[in-house]
Symmetry: C2
Subunit: 243 residues, 2 copies
């Protein structure tokens, strides 16, 4: 793990790093010492580790809860090189959607392919970040919607360090199988008028989680219209389960 820059604002320290080929960012309280809960944030499709939505969440996790937060670029995103195998599928998904065909089966296939790379990558990032004295081995949470849900579900299913997850804007076709292996508390965000994930698909994914505590928060609006008050709820959810 190699740190390439460090800045801070509003009591939150931000460190850019690379771990092998993975570019990442770690947020902690300024002058943090000792172990603390850590939230891994998965960004959406076409976004990156310092997307405004990721930044806003990370800053609140750190400033209001004293947690650490980390995000990394998904393959083919942010500071990572484009990879022909992913580009080819992404192009075909767009073509199908424009032709009016259902792109869901191909999106499911794409996310499964990327997850085979990201699950071990994110586990390696957890290893490295938890080895830092000022993060340490505390409980881990995961936050991710849309692509961050498609990649997050197999990650949370595979990684026993994750003790609670906020997921959403994803469907059963891509993720139900891995969701059935998840037993930790889940807060699931669904947009009632999602133009990309059919309502029945989102409801079926919520249904698929094996968690004894899972809570569905559905709100009117399209895929990108998550209401601001859901971030307040996310903070309380993680505070309840990781503290």
């Amino acid at each position: 793990m190699r740190f390439t820059s460090q800045t801070s604002s509003g009591g939150v320290s931000e460190r850019l790093f690379t771990l092998g080929e993975i570019p990442g960012v770690l947020w902690t309280p300024q002058d943090a010492t000792g172990p603390r809960p850590l939230i891994l944030i998965g960004h959406g499709g076409g976004r990156h580790k310092k997307d405004p939505g990721v930044l806003a969440r990370a800053h609140r996790f750190v400033a209001e809860c004293g947690f650490a937060a980390a995000a990394v670029d998904v393959p083919d995103h942010g500071d990572r090189p484009k990879q022909e195998k992913y580009q080819r599928i992404a192009t075909e998904i767009q073509a199908r959607a424009q032709a009016g065909d259902d792109p869901a089966p191909l999106i499911a296939e794409f996310q499964a392919l990327v997850a085979r790379q990201t699950v071990p990558e994110w586990q390696a990032v957890l290893d490295a970040v938890q080895a830092l004295e000022y993060v340490g081995v505390g409980p881990v949470g995961y936050w991710g919607v849309s692509l961050g849900c498609g990649l997050g579900v197999p990650f949370v299913a595979a990684e026993p360090r994750v003790r609670a997850a906020v997921l959403g804007l994803g469907g059963a076709q891509a993720s139900a199988e891995a969701a059935a292996r998840i037993t930790v508390p889940v807060e699931f965000l669904l947009q009632w008028d999602d133009e990309r994930v059919p309502r029945s698909e989102g409801l079926a994914l919520f249904d698929a989680f094996s968690s004894a505590e899972k809570t569905l928060h559905a709100n009117p609006g399209k895929h990108g219209d998550l209401p601001a008050f859901e971030l307040d709820s996310t903070l309380r959810f993680f505070a309840r389960h990781l503290r």
Copy 2:
């Protein structure tokens, strides 16, 4: 409005009252003066104005938010006399359910009948309670699930003083028509494994509200298993909309 007793505990003053034939209870902060938000709480079927669930909510609204809270016995419940017209329907609903028939149409009919009485009763209670100096004319919220939803939906639809409502455990068959006239923020509670309200009925009722801000909270469990953390969410919902 005639007060018949006053007690207090934990900083919360509780006054029993009657308004005409309606027995009610009013909770306020001890030594309250001046106007404040008021939450009307509707109890469930077979319950009453001082049901433990009603009491627990009222105490938190008052102690944590400084609101006033009120609840009254629904006709045929609590301290009110049994009425033959309601008893007859209640008996028939039980008989149908035991015979394996769908009681939903009769429940819908029953709730509509009772609501014709409770809507004006609850409006009279609001008038009387808001005339008290230590409650005053502040924003009003409504909380009610199950029967409290079946009677609450027509009440919230009819009463412009209500500015936000927590509803749930009800279905579209009984309540969709009135729900379509509701435009204030709604937090809607749905139990994913509700043995009394089919999941599709609950989802369809959430869909029916015309509110620009409505949020569905669905959790695993049966009709009576609302998780405790939803009351925390209720407090924040009312604080956001009534303060």
